[in-house]
Symmetry: C2
Subunit: 265 residues, 2 copies
């Protein structure tokens, strides 16, 4: 399967699972569930959940077994976008060509929507049964105040003055959830410690590379552009090296890092 | 042990566990961990975690085994207070005699603090190991968009026009987390389905009774005062009936509902 085909197939599966989880209550006080669906089901590449599924296969598991973890990661990503867009954070009025949640539903509801999606993310992991504890520990670590939220706090506190600082922010804001995605795929597949650690490090490198590529495409942080382009190449090489021992089942992961690296060329 | 002694002992244990969990990173960008500690460690009766511990004993378990669940419930409660106090929600400047988190640390940081405490709440449940999946499902259900956040959304959408509506709001905003607390105690204790359901229903009745008592003490919702006083008596009787079959180990839970009922006399 080519990478675009794989991403399309993963997106269809994940979108159906998300729609099922967000069907909600018929009685919807304050349009909370409607706003949750608006936040999550309005499109998106579903790159992070596709990474969960691809990592699960690379670790010898199936997409079906990893689907709850894939939904969890996308719900978590969606919550960060809703809260990031708030006036007290990035104060964005539009996302994916539509009004942001706080513009469409009000700021109080947007805060609740983010809280609800974060809660639903953990709820999804309960479906992993005996693997739930490991999965919760990984998602909470990477999405909590040591990684993702530390990155947000760093961003709020002021911009980066060196590439190292910028990369630390990228590691928190983007790398952490990519690393959680890949590691959750490994956990869902029942992978051993070595494969799990390889996929965690692959995810972190992929996430930081993805953010550098995004910055380069958007012209963000122009003073670090030359260094970021060099780092992107290094990170792609690191990511490829991590998954090389996993062999053929990891080929989609190799295609993913190649695609990210090429997107900034 | 008298109820005040039991609450004091539970509070000391829970406070130590919360301080341990919130020690955080030496490097604290944007003072995120400092603000998390400010939000959680600044006092509070710790009624909800005490309920987790008391329910665990009532179901044949130990305080030690239920401590992670107790910490989870208090972290979850603390996050709801931080987000509730935000300008777009209740817009409160003071809590427990000190500036609220958004006043002391800024609104953006307060949003992240709530997000981080919610994430840490689920992280705490990972310590329950094989019982994590059940615990996560219960906490996410009761703290999510079907219960707690539905109550918040209902409140945002406008006040109650009948006692039934008011009680529905109380069930979401207060009863849900009390019911989760009691049920999590049961889960940590490895209780059977009957004891677990009894403790869940006891917690819900206790929580709604607690909110009625609080309203009566504060003079809130005065038009429903007479009805609320009657309902408080009914809910206390319901709660006592639920735990009666659990016998002696449930005596602290009986004392707790008596104390709540008496506080509004």
């Amino acid at each position: 399967m080519t990478l675009p085909d794989l991403l399309d197939e993963a997106r269809a599966l994940v979108d159906a699972e998300l729609a099922r989880r967000l069907a909600g209550d018929a009685d919807d006080p304050g349009r909370l569930w409607e706003a949750m669906r608006y936040a999550v089901l309005g499109g998106g590449k579903r790159l992070r959940p596709a990474l969960v599924l691809a990592a699960a296969r690379a670790a010898g598991g199936t997409w079906e077994g990893a689907l709850p973890a894939a939904a969890a990661v996308e719900l978590l990503h969606a919550y960060t976008l809703v809260h990031d867009d708030l006036p007290a954070m990035d104060d964005d009025d539009e996302r994916r060509g539509r009004p942001t949640v706080h513009v469409a539903f009000g700021e109080g509801t947007a805060i609740l929507v983010g809280d609800a999606l974060l809660t639903e993310a953990f709820a999804a992991l309960a479906a992993l049964g005996p693997r739930c504890a490991e999965a919760v520990a990984v998602l909470a670590d990477r999405a909590g105040a040591r990684w993702l939220l530390a990155g947000q706090a760093r961003d709020l506190a002021g911009g980066a003055t060196s590439l190292a600082e910028l990369e630390r922010m990228h590691a928190g804001k983007t790398g952490a959830l990519f690393s959680a995605a890949a590691e959750l795929g490994a956990i869902a597949a029942g992978a051993g410690a070595d494969a799990r650690a390889r996929l965690r490090r692959y995810g972190m490198a992929l996430g930081i590379a993805f953010q550098h590529a995004d910055d380069l495409a958007d012209g963000d942080h122009p003073r670090f552009a030359a260094e970021a382009r060099r780092r992107l190449g290094e990170l792609a090489a690191d990511a490829r090296a991590e998954i090389a021992p996993l062999g053929d089942p990891a080929r989609p992961l190799a295609a993913l890092i190649d695609w990210v690296a090429a997107s900034a060329a």
